[in-house]
């Protein structure tokens, strides 16, 4: 009982003891210099502050003109019919009544906006957006490591920001902190149907409902026509889809579950790794040789990989596709971006498969 009392008293005395300690410490040694520093800092801040408000009434500060990264396109504000939408990530986003400045954070959303004819409202894009060609003059607000420059985004003061399924949730939260509405368009589980509904969503938000309907209808017509072309191929070719073979002994490819796999199957090919449960598996060159693909499609051709380089890789020469020179580059941007050009992507895959089938026939 007695000990308890003593400890209780100590516990109460502890903060007092500490404060006293700090005081004595400062007094004993550096109180003077500490006070000098505090006074100096206060003086610096006060003098700085004293000058700033004094100027304010005489003239409005004119930093606005210097701080904006590029000239802002001026278009008539778009009236938006809806007050809020549920985006692809399931978030309910409040939408301003009129929109004149937008930012796109991904190539897919950039392509959708331009395909709907609303490109003039775009004030900034991410550094990977490169289509249509006129985007080259638009300001870029992302860093090479997939982060974004929030200062520039805030400075541009957009009415709305479009993010994609690949955009990190952190980025979305960060931009929301700037009080700018962010709409996520598309998810990681892309299908042809989801792309069409994404385009419809963007159309709704940018007052382009009829343009969206026209676009999606046309896409469906083209898509059906392409599917019909390959519907009666009886001998389907086996395809190895090369995503990245920086290490030729362990290339990355596509497995089951991804949209590119769906596209390949729709085009009448067989993915040799279609039974692997991972959408983007890393396989060994031994597995590639054992799978004996008839066609190799180089989705990494944009990074400079050519069919000749594949032929020179050690261990790859025994693969039927290499022997028969059925190694084809493809424009990866057509197939990997869940946007309006996906139909062109399907056409490109079908073109490769048809070319091989024709060769085989003769």
């Amino acid at each position: 009982m007695k000990t308890q009392h003593v400890y209780g008293r100590r516990l109460v005395a502890l903060p007092l003891h500490f404060c006293k300690g700090v005081f004595i410490y400062l007094k004993g040694n550096s109180m003077k210099s500490f006070l000098r520093v505090v006074l100096l800092s206060v003086a610096v801040i006060l003098s700085a502050c004293a000058t700033a408000p004094a100027q304010a009434p005489t003239a409005t500060p004119a930093p606005v003109a210097t701080m904006v990264p590029t000239a802002v396109p001026t278009i008539a504000p778009i009236a938006v019919a809806v007050a809020s939408v549920t985006d692809s990530a399931g978030r309910v986003v409040a939408i301003p009544t009129s929109v004149s400045k937008i930012i796109s954070l991904a190539p897919s959303t950039t392509e959708m906006i331009y395909a709907l004819g609303k490109g003039s409202a775009v004030v900034a894009i991410d550094m990977y957006s490169d289509y249509p060609p006129e985007v080259s003059s638009v300001a870029k607000i992302s860093n090479p490591d997939m982060t974004y420059n929030y200062e520039q985004i805030a400075a541009l003061a957009p009415d709305m920001v479009f993010a994609a399924g690949i955009t990190s949730p952190d980025v979305v939260t960060a931009i929301e902190k700037l009080n700018i509405p962010v709409v996520v368009v598309g998810s990681v589980n892309t299908t042809f149907e989801s792309i069409k509904s994404d385009i419809t969503l963007v159309g709704t938000l940018l007052g382009a409902t009829s343009e969206a309907t026209t676009l999606t209808t046309q896409m469906q017509v083209d898509w059906d026509a392409l599917i019909a072309k390959v519907a009666n191929i009886d001998s389907k070719p086996r395809v190895f889809w090369e995503l990245d073979a920086t290490d030729p002994s362990k290339p990355y490819t596509i497995g089951a579950g991804g949209f590119v796999n769906e596209l390949l199957v729709a085009a009448g090919g067989i993915n040799v790794f279609g039974d692997v449960e991972n959408p983007y598996p890393q396989v060994s060159v031994e597995q590639v040789v054992a799978a004996a693909p008839d066609i190799i499609i180089l989705a990494d051709s944009l990074y400079g990989v050519t069919p000749d380089m594949v032929a020179n890789r050690a261990g790859w020469e025994g693969i039927p596709a290499v022997k028969n020179q059925s190694v084809f580059p493809i424009d990866d941007n057509l197939v990997s971006r869940p946007g309006p050009r996906i139909v062109a992507g399907l056409a490109a895959v079908i073109a490769i498969i048809e070319e091989v089938l024709v060769e085989v026939k003769y």
Binding site: V37, S41, V44, T51, P63, E151, A154, T173, L178
Partner: protein, 349 residues
């Protein structure tokens, strides 16, 4: 000898100005860091916005997006950077005293790697649930404490532990922690971008709640270190001699380990893995004010904050409008500076 005497007299002269210079530089750097950014905002506008923000008065003249840039993006980041720099500098000085080794930086003895592993494990385990912002610092603290405890136990396995045992144990555990971190990252690929940002020193917007937690941990950690600072001087002698001089060795070690680890872990959790601050800053400060931890620890914290603020400013502006991870800048400035200092110190003794 005459050289050394005059050198120490010069050092004594430095001691008085070191606090003054440090604190005023720190305030200036924080102000400049708030002014500098990829969007050019004049200094008078920045000061005006800050002044209105401090008084909580809405400003009708300055455009609201500029206020957002200063108050929501720059200010929390500047405070966070200053806190992280202070934490790493102070903790570095304390670890070097505790382990009697000038190389005992939070990185060398594996504390930071342990914190990284803890933070990543927390994200991996908590990723299925809603992502809680305090999960990462908590995991980081537990991971860091585990590593520091293990390093200590391993190094003390033999009755007479040497400094080399300690460094070796730290290096081995850091390698293990890094391997496990990589393994976990490969297994939860869908959150990879989030984790990558964490490892390189994230460039996202810092919330005030995180800044508050960082500030609290720095205050608690620094208080513990300052309580231990005087007696840490005696721990530079062998343990038995410290006990002859009346030091409660176990208590001082516990204070230093917990305080320094707390600061390192929160700095790593909120600002990513940043090297070189904890080794260069205390080393340079020691050259100017001597080895007394009562001066060394607070001054290392102060100059650590300055160093990291400058590095962060450089990272934000060197490749404007793009930003590069601050860890790259600290390493690029840090390594040559460290080598240069190594040379000059050798010549002086």
């Amino acid at each position: 000898m005459p050289y050394a005497v005059s050198q120490l007299k010069r050092l004594r002269h430095w001691r008085g100005t070191a606090y003054l210079l440090g604190l005023s530089l720190c305030v200036c750097c924080m102000l400049v860091a708030t002014v500098v950014g990829s969007v050019a905002i004049p200094i008078d506008t920045v000061i005006r916005v800050l002044w209105h923000w401090v008084r909580q008065i809405p400003d009708t003249v300055i455009p609201s997006n500029l206020v957002t840039i200063i108050v929501t993006i720059r200010l929390p980041r500047v405070v966070m950077v200053a806190c992280a720099g202070a934490a790493l500098g102070g903790a570095g000085a304390a670890y070097q005293g505790l382990f009697r080794n000038p190389l005992a930086d939070p990185y060398v003895i594996g504390v930071a790697s342990g914190a990284g592993l803890g933070a990543i494990s927390a994200v991996a385990l908590g990723g299925a649930l809603a992502f809680a912002w305090y999960l990462m610092p908590l995991g980081a603290f537990i991971g860091a404490l585990l590593v520091v405890g293990l390093v200590y136990l391993l190094a003390r396995g033999n009755a007479q532990y040497t400094n080399n045992d300690l460094i070796l144990a730290g290096v081995a555990l850091a390698a293990l922690a890094n391997a496990l971190t990589t393994y976990i990252m490969l297994h939860i690929g869908r959150q990879l971008s989030q984790l990558l940002g964490f490892l390189l020193g994230s460039a996202t917007i810092v919330g005030w709640d995180a800044v508050g937690l960082m500030l609290v941990s720095v205050i608690i950690g620094m208080t513990m270190l300052l309580i231990a600072a005087r007696d840490l001087n005696v721990l530079l002698f062998p343990e038995e001699q410290a006990r002859f001089l009346g030091i409660n060795v176990a208590r001082i070690r516990a204070l230093v380990v917990i305080g320094a680890t707390l600061m390192t872990a929160t700095a790593v959790a909120f600002h990513g893995l940043i090297g070189f601050v904890g080794i260069i800053v205390p080393h340079s400060v020691r050259l100017f004010v001597g080895g007394d931890h009562r001066r060394l620890i607070p001054l290392s914290a102060c100059y650590g904050a300055i160093f990291l603020l400058l590095a962060d400013m450089l990272a934000r502006t060197i490749q404007s409008p793009q930003e590069i991870p601050v860890g790259i800048v600290t390493a690029c400035c840090g390594a040559p500076f460290f080598l240069w200092q190594l040379r000059t110190t050798k010549r002086a003794t």
